[in-house]
């Protein structure tokens, strides 16, 4: 063990059986959670990108007398309503010429069209950082202004964005939770392991070993056990993650073009075994010093 002499049992005791497996399990779970959080973040930023920009509102032409004026009034109302929504940067009603230009591929460029009561379009520019609930805006709009409707596709995207924001938030909470539980488990496993070795600690103490001599050995041991377990957990996590990623890519057919981990993710996951081992080492050290302090 680092070429240093050790007076500790090398195998077969409860610590050396438990600690590595526990650390392996914890590192495995933490790796899963971390890469899950990164993947969610990735997906979300993609979707976010898709939804930035503008939303289109259509207002159907009113019928009856003074149809043109009534339609104008509807457009005004819709513009007012949308302008009042926080997070909306600009609202611009398209004039008839622009609407016609947009419809040209559909209806052809004939003069006849010019006299038709066409639907009007309103361009809405949305602050990409604001969390506008477009579904709710669409609802209000259709109630307040007859014939006005928000572009359906964008409403869906907005819902997706909100969902992915939720998922990102949940992922962070879950990662935090698993991190906490991991640390607690490593600490607990190490402490329990030390309790089993109380007798060895006492004999070494009575023989005249310095506290540091004893604590160092246990700390080295816990580090090695923790690192071994952590590397094993990592070794299990890598193929599991690849398999999941591969399966996800195959199944969803292009919706999440690639949920490959960013570099930061690899670094964090690669550090997990070291973190776990370090935690085990520190715990062992403190536990042994604590036990020694209670001896005369």
């Amino acid at each position: 063990m680092f070429g240093r002499h050790s007076d500790l049992p090398l195998a077969g005791d409860a610590t050396s059986r438990f600690l590595p497996w526990l650390v392996a399990l914890m590192v495995f779970l933490a790796a899963m959670a971390v890469s899950g959080a990164f993947a969610v973040n990735e997906v979300m930023s993609r979707w976010d990108h898709d939804v930035t920009g503008t939303v289109t509102v259509q207002v159907l032409p009113a019928g009856g007398e003074r149809a043109e004026a009534a339609t104008d009034e509807r457009v005004r109302q819709a513009v007012d309503l949308i302008r009042a929504v926080p997070g909306v940067l600009a609202v611009k009603a398209l004039d008839k010429a622009r609407t016609l230009a947009l419809l040209e591929p559909w209806l052809g460029g004939t003069d006849v069209v010019r006299d038709l009561p066409l639907p009007r379009l309103i361009d809405v520019t949305v602050d990409p950082d604001a969390r506008i609930d477009l579904a709710e805006v669409a609802d209000r709009l259709s109630h307040a202004v007859p014939g006005a409707a928000l572009d359906d596709h964008r409403v869906w995207l907005s819902r997706l964005i909100n969902l992915s924001r939720t998922m990102e938030w949940l992922a962070i909470v879950v990662v935090g939770l698993i991190g906490l539980v991991t640390s607690a488990t490593v600490v607990y496993a190490t402490r329990t392991g030390m309790a089993v070795h109380h007798d060895i600690i006492e004999v070494l103490h009575l023989i005249g070993a310095h506290d540091d001599y004893i604590a160092r050995q246990f700390a080295d041991r816990a580090f090695v056990l923790g690192l071994g377990g952590g590397l094993f957990g990592l070794a299990m996590a890598v193929p599991a993650l690849s398999a999941l990623g591969w399966a996800a890519r195959r199944l969803e057919g292009g919706f999440l073009p690639s949920i490959g981990l960013p570099l930061a993710g690899y670094v964090v996951i690669g550090l997990l075994p070291l973190l776990a081992a370090g935690l085990a080492m520190l715990t062992a050290r403190l536990t042994v010093h604590g036990a020694l302090a209670r001896m005369p």
Binding site: D7, P9, L10, D199, V203, L204, L206, I207, G208, H210
Partner: protein
């Protein structure tokens, strides 16, 4: 240390009392002193407190009251980091041996040397020699769990004496060995004693005590130590 003039006290108890938790007092007002280089037997009925008295001497326990002076140091006022140096001057044969189960006989005996940072080459030389002397030349690599009762006891004794301690405390060191080996071990103790080690042997073995009757005897009963001889 080795040249401490005989006669000076290596250990002194001043009205020492001891109780475990809320139990009765095991030791009451124990006062005595052991001159450096002396060889004492410690006798007394089972449960009298012999092991407890030794535990106080090897600093495995603090007295409930009273004063323990070891190597001219008042233990109560000695700093924690100075205690390992004192402990290294004491060799202990525990009544339950307390060998480390995962280490071989050789590594168990080498423990006090390793703790002191003695070089491996020294260890490889001295430890097998001592183990041969106590009749365990064949068992250097054996784990305690494969040793017989008497073999374990001899490993425990070897571990206590390997460091040539200034003070040797042996708790029932011959309870599991035959008379022949017991005599051999006693001669080993006398040999050490001649080299300057102060020795206390707690024992029930009356025939042993009477065979080495030239050594003084402390008798512990009802929480009190009295000198016989």
């Amino acid at each position: 240390m080795r040249h401490r003039p005989r006669g000076e006290n290596i250990i002194r108890f001043d009205s020492v009392g001891l109780r475990y938790g809320l139990g009765p007092e095991v030791l009451r007002d124990v006062t005595f002193a052991l001159p450096s280089g002396s060889f004492h037997f410690l006798t007394g009925p089972s449960g009298a407190g012999k092991s407890s008295l030794l535990r106080l001497m090897y600093l495995g326990l603090r007295p409930t009251r009273g004063r323990v002076v070891l190597f001219d140091r008042d233990i109560a006022s000695t700093r924690r980091y100075e205690l390992p140096a004192l402990r290294r001057r004491i060799g202990v044969v525990f009544q339950e041996f307390r060998l480390l189960d995962h280490l071989t006989a050789l590594d168990n005996v080498a423990l006090p040397l390793r703790v002191r940072g003695v070089r491996e080459s020294e260890i490889r030389k001295h430890v097998p020699e001592l183990l041969s002397w106590v009749g365990l030349a064949d068992q250097l690599g054996a784990k305690p769990s494969t040793l017989s009762g008497g073999q374990k006891q001899r490993v425990a004794i070897a571990r206590a004496v390997i460091g040539r301690p200034d003070l040797l405390l042996a708790d029932e060191p011959t309870g599991n060995v035959d008379d022949h080996i017991a005599m051999r071990l006693m001669y080993l103790f006398e040999e050490l004693n001649k080299l300057g080690t102060t020795i206390v042997v707690a024992t029930h073995n009356e025939s042993l005590v009477s065979r080495f009757a030239h050594n003084p005897r402390l008798h512990l009963e009802h929480g009190q130590v009295t000198r016989v001889n």
